[in-house]
Amino acid sequence: MSILKGLSDRMERLGSLVQFAFKAARTLVSSRPDLREWIRQGYLLGNRSLGLVAVTAFIVGLVLTVQSRPTLAMFGAEGWLPSMVAISIIKEIGPVITALVCAGKIGSGIGAEVASMKVSEQIDAMDVSGINPHAYIVVPRMMAATLVVPVLVLLGDAASIVGSYVGMVMTAPIDPSLFITQAFENLEFSDLLPAVAKTVVFGLYIGLIGTHCGFESEPGPSGVAKATNRSVVTGIFGVFLIDLFFVNLTNLIFGS
């Protein structure tokens, strides 16, 4: 019984998310883009997340390198290490790790901010005056996240590669330019394009979920807390689903 109720609750929320997304899309195409506000929001979001993304990505690159070395060494394939690490980072680990960090940091930020606007009736105040809150609250945050997450992923990838280099140097010194050549020699355009494309979708999704959870917030401080929590949890879960979808789509288009 409670499983059924949980399921119907989720379906209801999914329905309202789809409706919400349509309204945001309609607002986006029908109104003049407020680029200054997008960039302002984007700067705020990016600035808040950059440090966390850089440190996390650096550690992941370093650890991945250190952990993979013994296995490759067993097969006498240590020369493949930079290339293998670079491909894993750029195709998969970099985008997903950064998107997860953003789902936490950006998702919670947007979720809490918009939920507190909802709870203090600021969104109602716009509604009741015939001002479309989607135009001033949803679209700028959604577009900011869409623009900023890909940039953060690229910066995160760079931090991971640096981390990987540090991991290499910890065992045996290697010339940086040789490392870079080795790292990128097996990378192809068909690796890069889908990797970047999915980061755009990650960003859009994180912005959309954050604002939607905020808009649906229940009254009171506990409503804000719940909405924040929900935007993070739904955000993280969705990042994995989108990734799964994109991996299959890429394999379908470019062959596995």
Partner: protein, 258 residues
Amino acid sequence: MSLPTENNDRPDQGPADTATLQMVDGTKGFGGEPVLRDMQLRLNQGETLVILGRSGSGKTVLLKCLVGLMKLDEGSVLIQGQDLGSADSKALNQIRKKLGFLFQGAAIYDSLSVRENLEFHIHRQLQIQDDAEVESLVMKVLQDVGLEEAIGKMPSELSGGMRKRLGLARALVSKPDLMLYDEPTTGLDPVTSQEISRLIRDTQSARGVASLVVTHDMRCAQTTADRIIVLRDGAACAEGTYAELESSSDADIKAFFS
């Protein structure tokens, strides 16, 4: 050939076209608990109607249903003859552009300064972009509510009463045809309260704005009301002018006036 007119079936309520705002058989509840029951309300052109009721009697819910922020379970709301329930979002926004609403909690935009809170509505509700014109509107309304010194402040730097006055300024700045005030004087000192009450009165008389005022403040009711409704058990239990209700024999109503 004579066509029956719509107005004939409600002779007691007068012709429908003079009502700025009307609720017919409004029913609303939360989780089985009824808040409004068959509520009837009619606000005429240029009239100020005061709603009295005890805390939790559903005054805020009533106001929110009247502007479509909450949906009635049953019944209908008409603003200038337009049914809110059947209006599409474009028509609804058109209606709402001519409407001012003071929230009980003021609903100030926390990320914007006092000036920006007002400019936001002038730009978007009135569609005025000319800087000089915007500036003069902002200054005028801030003077009206006595908030000129706070023009550059952020909402976090304002007191409760100042927030309330900013909310009031923001509702008034768009020159609405219909104003709804949810407890405009609560949390203000008696002098300011009286100033705000007079401002409500003056706004109504200067531009013929129809106003609905929810309040517990009897001096405010006395200053502003053309007519008063007392809300009890989700419906209007008494109606009349201030003087009429003051001399009522009902104990509950008397309690408001003592």
